[in-house]
């Protein structure tokens, strides 16, 4: 589904990713772990196409297409979803408005029929229910006044509604208490644990992986994947720390 080959990039002239390669197939859940400053969020933003995250070398192929040849909104329409570590607040635009415009933009781009108001509300109710988010919250402006946990739940509702092929989730577990972590984990499984979908989880901690079991775990350090393995690698990281595992 996604093939990243020897990716290098820079932000404001500073090299962050230094030759990162990764293969994600349909039906797989991958976790990327790594110390602060390793380039985890940079990888997520670069794949999402954030301005100023300049690709200086390497390729990324998503469903057979050149990912870096697409604008951010085209990547979304192609089936990429980027879960933000810090979801952005948009005063004056309700979640429902935001999501309906997003979904219908994607559907237009794919040549599909747009959803009308009724169809969309039905879909939104279903996905909000899955994440235990009150519909009233979706009537409020995007992320404005939401707690850290509510923002992450709302992100997962967005993911449920937009129904991507590949979700890149950047520290979706940060700011969540144990109950919210369970709910969000269950939401990720319900929405994305399917043979035709894939997930790239970016996280510091093992705890999210207790709820969303990865098939592969990678350690990112200094802009490169230095070690890959199965779920046991996450447990090893948790007990030994990054520096031990990276040095080994």
């Amino acid at each position: 589904m996604l093939t990243i080959d020897n990716l290098t990039n820079e932000i404001d002239g500073k090299a962050i990713l230094k030759g990162l390669s990764l293969q994600i197939n349909a039906g797989e859940i991958h976790a990327i772990m790594g110390p602060n400053g390793a380039g985890k969020s940079t990888l997520a933003y670069t794949l999402g196409g954030r301005p100023n995250y300049d690709v200086t070398g390497g390729t990324a192929t998503f469903e057979g297409a050149d990912l870096f040849g697409m604008d951010p909104h085209e990547r979304a329409a192609a089936g990429l979803f980027l879960g933000f570590q810090y979801p952005v607040e948009i005063p004056g635009v309700s979640n429902l408005q935001f999501l309906r415009e997003s979904l219908n933009s994607q559907r237009r781009a794919r040549g599909e029929k747009e959803l009308n108001g009724g169809e969309f509300i039905k879909l939104a109710k279903e996905k909000a229910g899955l994440l235990g988010l009150d519909m009233e919250m979706l009537k409020r402006p995007v992320n404005v006044g939401f707690s850290g946990g509510e923002k992450k739940r709302a992100e997962m509702v967005q993911m449920g509604i937009l129904d991507p092929k590949l979700a890149i989730l950047d520290e979706t577990d940060s700011g969540l208490d144990i109950d919210a972590l369970k709910t969000v984990g269950a939401g990720i499984n319900a929405i994305m644990r399917k043979p035709d979908k894939a997930v790239l989880l970016i996280t510091h901690y093992q705890r999210l992986l207790d709820y969303v079991k990865p098939d592969f775990v990678h350690v990112l350090a200094a802009g490169r994947i230095v070690k890959s393995g199965g779920p046991e690698l996450a447990l090893q990281l948790e007990s030994e720390g990054y520096s031990e595992v990276i040095a080994a």
Binding site: D71, H73, A76, V88, G92, F98, S102, S105, Q158
Partner: protein
């Protein structure tokens, strides 16, 4: 405000205007006079949608008698020069409310000029203006609030915000207070900004094409200006006109 001679840039109220466009249309029509009788409530509106390249100047002279109220809704978006002025005099305990939007592109100059005089005590006034300017457009708000010596307990505000879609667009905002009473509340705020880049990327990451995302943010920015238009059809006409104009800018 009837002027006999063509104004010059030295005249403060014309400092940022388009005097060539004005000269082409000189002399401008006489001011519209509006009087709201004691204890009455009235409202009026203007959707200034003059044809491209033309000049549209509207002057309103408004007297609001004791304990009366006047509401005005304005969308100023047409013409090479679109200029709307208000000279308001408030009686005791009266209220004036202006909700205005400027939406301009190309080489347009669009202006709202107000002079609100609190001549008597206990009057209140509110002015909310939102401007969206693209390309080489200029949007001006010059607003003076004048509080007479006896006009105690005056409560007035000016909330002026401009959004520039291009670095080549210009917004001028000049709230001005002249206060001779000593028990007065006058609040004024003026900001000029650009669309939030973080929000635009967030919206793009969810699949919104740039035009859709910008339009949604701009709709949110002007939201509120027409919210309290009492007649539904009129409010819808304002909103549709604003949206159509935004469509030409993003």
């Amino acid at each position: 405000m009837t002027l006999l001679a063509l104004p010059t840039r030295k005249d403060e109220a014309w400092r940022y205007s388009d005097l060539d466009a004005l000269a082409a249309a000189w002399p401008v029509p006489a001011a519209t006079r509006i009087t709201v009788a004691e204890g009455e409530s009235a409202h009026d509106h203007l959707l200034q949608d003059a044809a491209d390249g033309t000049t549209a100047v509207y002057d309103y002279v408004i007297d609001i008698a004791d304990n009366a109220r006047f509401d005005f809704h304005l969308l100023n978006m047409g013409g090479k020069l679109g200029r709307v002025t208000f000279a308001v005099t408030l009686g005791k305990g009266s209220h004036f409310e202006l909700n205005g939007a400027i939406i301009g592109g190309g080489e347009q100059t669009l202006e709202i000029i107000t002079s609100v005089t609190h001549a008597q005590p206990d009057a209140t006034s509110g002015q909310t203006v939102r401007s969206i300017l693209g390309s080489h457009a200029t949007g001006n708000y010059l607003g003076s609030i004048n509080v007479a010596r006896d006009a105690q307990r005056t409560d007035a505000f000016q909330s002026i915000k401009a959004m520039l879609l291009d670095r080549t667009a210009t917004a001028n905002a000049k709230p001005e207070l002249e206060i001779y009473a000593d028990d007065v509340k006058c609040a004024h705020g003026a900001t000029v900004g650009e669309l939030d880049k973080q929000a635009l990327f967030y919206m793009a990451s969810r699949g919104m094409d740039p035009a859709t995302a910008k339009t949604l943010l701009l709709k949110a920015f002007v939201a509120g200006v027409f919210d309290d238009v009492a007649q539904d059809d009129l409010r819808e006409r304002f909103e549709a006109a604003a949206l159509a104009k935004l469509g030409t800018l993003v």
